[in-house]
């Protein structure tokens, strides 16, 4: 290990252990439980409201007026005869030249599982999921009406199935994924990186900073502290990811005991998860997950470096708190920009968000959801890394010239003027003598 990395590792190790090996870390780690609890309560209430507003899911049959009543009667007969879960409520609509079954399937305010249109002998069935039970039920309804009308043997209906997934709507879903990535990175960075604002306060308070400054380059101290805190953040994320995966597996075994046997098949699970989500990012799930993690790290380092640098200038806890607010506002502004970028991939807003270093990680994560180009992410990560280094470098310069030289005043912009005044005064005194 080179001396630079060794120094960074020593500082990071100390900080990581100092945070993790304390009872308060347990509180920190479990804090999301409160958030989840409150979220679940709110979500349950919202769900109740939504369900009451929109009713249960539905299937829709768009038919000629003459077919409406026969379909209703067939539904009444078959619904009771079918074993297991009943099909969603059937909604019947009279066929109209303007009615687009895909648009009906995407109508807001209701969960539409399948829409049947066209002649009953060869209907077009648009499904939310390919091979769904709802699509098969609509096909069965058409066949039953034809059989009833023919009063004898009749060939079953020959439907033409379409899946919404293949109908060109996945872009919207991918944008949703992109926004999700933006939101997750923003939330985690907001929760975890902000802690770095007070990290050097400990060293300044207990005077360790001079020992560190004498022993290793300050850049190593700053980066080591950031990486130590990043380690805590990764531990936090890993813990909750493991909890989520574990919870998911437990839930699956409750629904289907056979799922336990399949629990070890990771690739099958990934496919199942992908199918369950109904959409895949443009770059594919494995790459997307990894690149979002990489962008989270870069976002954490970028904002953490700013927090650390500004916090290092502060002399009191009150100053630290005061200085945190503008940075948080910066974070929220970057989130707003990136939300816009996620909803408008390829737009100039998206390009700007991808270039601005402090929004770049979030905007590029959103891009990974909608654009399958992968090489550009290497470029973006490099660009962001340069800015991490730049922010740390500037923070260290300010710290060295200010705090470490005994000037606790964080108004660094005044130092240059004061130094000039001092030099002029000294020159005047020398000339006078």
């Amino acid at each position: 290990m080179t001396p630079v990395f060794r120094n960074i590792f020593v500082v990071a190790r100390r900080d990581f252990l100092a945070i993790v090996a304390t009872p308060t870390f347990l509180l920190f780690l479990l804090a999301p439980l409160f958030m989840i609890g409150m979220g679940a309560l709110g979500g349950f209430g919202a769900s109740q409201l939504a369900d009451s507003a929109r009713g249960a899911g539905r299937i829709v049959a768009i038919a000629d007026p003459a077919d409406i009543e026969p379909l209703r009667a067939a539904d009444a007969r078959l619904r009771d005869a079918l074993p297991g879960d009943k099909p969603p409520t059937l909604e019947l609509r009279v066929a109209d030249a303007d009615v687009d079954p895909v648009a009906v399937a995407q109508e807001k305010g209701a969960d539409t599982y399948a829409v049947m249109s066209g002649p009953l002998a060869a209907p077009r069935i648009v499904e939310r999921e390919a091979g769904s039970r709802s699509g098969a039920y609509l096909s069965l309804l058409a066949t039953d009406v034809l059989r009833d009308r023919a009063a004898g043997a009749v060939a079953p209906a020959a439907p033409r199935f379409e899946s919404l997934k293949k109908g060109g709507t996945s872009i919207a879903a991918q944008q949703g994924l992109g926004f999700g990535a933006v939101f997750i990175i923003f939330l985690l960075t907001l929760l975890l990186a902000g802690q770095s604002v007070g990290m050097l306060a400990e060293e300044k308070g207990n005077k360790v900073i001079e020992i560190l400054a004498a022993a290793v380059p300050l850049e190593s101290v700053f980066l080591g502290k950031l990486l130590g805190l990043l380690g805590v953040a990764i531990l936090f994320i890993a813990f909750w990811s493991a909890m989520a995966v574990g919870g998911g597996l437990v839930a699956m075994t409750q629904l289907d005991p056979g799922a336990m046997a399949a629990a070890g098949a990771a690739s099958a699970k990934a496919q199942a998860a992908s199918a369950a989500l109904g959409v895949a990012p443009a770059t594919g799930w494995p790459f997307f997950v990894l690149i979002v993690l990489a962008y989270f790290i870069m976002s954490f380092l970028l904002l953490g470096a700013i927090f650390l640098g500004v916090g290092a200038q502060a002399g009191t806890v009150r100053e630290i708190q005061m200085l945190s607010l503008p940075i948080t506002i910066l974070q929220v502004a970057m989130f707003s920009l990136c939300s816009g970028a996620a909803n408008a991939p390829g737009s100039s807003v998206a390009t700007i968000a991808q270039i601005i270093p402090f929004s770049s990680p979030m905007a590029m994560a959103a891009r990974a959801a909608t654009d399958d180009a992968k090489a550009v992410h290497l470029l973006a990560l490099g660009w962001q890394a340069i800015w991490v280094a730049l922010v740390i470098y500037l923070s260290v310069r300010l710290f060295r010239s200010g705090v470490l030289s005994g000037r606790s005043n964080w108004k660094f912009w005044k130092r240059g003027a004061k130094a000039a005044v001092a030099a002029a005064a000294a020159a005047e005194v020398a000339a006078h003598r």
Binding site: V10, N206, V208, K418
Partner: protein
């Protein structure tokens, strides 16, 4: 081996309008114990910080071990800052190993050496205690061990004796001598002259931001004349006539100062005078006296300069 372990030349530092250090040079011979002495606020700590590259000088340079920038040889330096600092939640053994690891020492080796040092200093009973549970003196000794645990070639100690009880001061002196015997160069600051007098091969005296003296302890003491206390056996007659001007009588004794080369002529005069000798003591003044003399002289010069400035200003 290079002649000078530390070559700091012309170090100058402004803190806003205040010139904290004014062209201070420190040349510390390799393998020596070198003291930087000065009153409070003289600029000792700032000089040491610039020497080690912790803060940048406005003027001047500092080179260590024959021409290296301090930043490039950090692992060969051990430093005890004036403002003591340890992580209060760390155990002593871990704190020492951590400080060693910062200078490149393996953590395991650092822990092992921590045990050895703590045992040697009689602190092994608290080696697994957290720093916050220790007394100030104990914590200071832990920090000192942390400064030398990686066996540095240069040990810089800023006011190492302050806050220590006499027993620990004695232990620290022993430790400093032993480190010098190991081959290390020791540079320390203090305003307690007794330690410097016992330990230092050379000293620099800093007062009013500038270096006012550099040399051996004996050379500093030689700045002042010898102090004589003479008690004549027969005080009848004019004793003062054979003594130097300024001789002062206190009871039966006469007190006066003479230069080193005036001792033998004085003895000759006393013998020839017939007053006899009931008691005679001729001694060099201590470093304490030399230090006070130098600092007072600097203060007097400053006061004179200020008076001249005031006069010129009022005249203008």
């Amino acid at each position: 081996m290079t002649e000078y372990c530390v070559e700091a030349r012309g170090l100058t530092k402004y803190f806003e309008a205040f010139k904290a250090v004014d062209h201070v040079s420190l040349l510390v011979p390799t393998g020596s114990i070198y003291g930087v002495l000065g009153p409070n606020g003289a600029g000792k700590t700032t000089s040491l910080r610039m020497t080690l590259g912790i803060i940048d000088p406005d003027e001047g340079t500092s080179r260590l071990f024959g021409g290296f920038k301090p930043q490039n040889v950090r692992h060969r330096i051990g430093y005890l800052p004036e403002e003591r600092g340890l992580y209060p939640g760390m155990k002593a053994r871990e704190a020492i190993a951590f400080m060693g690891a910062l200078r490149g020492l393996d953590w395991g080796e650092g822990r092992r050496r921590a045990g050895d040092f703590m045992a040697e200093l009689g602190l092994d009973r608290v080696i697994d205690e957290k720093i916050r549970k220790m007394s100030k003196g104990m914590a200071q000794m832990v920090q000192l061990i942390g400064s030398i645990v990686h066996a540095p070639d240069l040990i810089v100690l800023d006011e190492p004796f302050s806050g220590l009880d006499p027993v620990n001061q004695e232990r620290l002196e022993t430790l400093v001598r032993r480190e010098r015997e190991r081959g290390a160069t020791i540079l320390f600051s203090t305003h307690v002259m007794a330690h410097a007098e016992r330990l230092c091969d050379r000293i620099a005296i800093i007062a009013r931001s500038a270096r006012r003296f550099e040399g051996t302890v004996d050379a500093a003491r030689a700045l002042l004349p010898m102090q004589v206390r003479y008690t004549p056996r027969d005080a009848a007659g004019d004793v003062a006539a054979m003594l130097p001007p300024g001789a002062e009588r206190r009871g039966a004794d006469w007190h006066f100062a003479i230069e080193g080369d005036a001792v033998e002529p004085l003895l000759a005069r006393i013998t020839a005078s017939g007053h006899g000798v009931a008691g005679l003591s001729i001694s060099r003044p201590g470093l304490h006296d030399a230090f006070v003399h130098i600092v007072r002289q600097v203060d007097a010069d400053f006061a004179a300069d200020a008076a001249v400035d005031a006069l010129e200003e009022s005249a203008a």
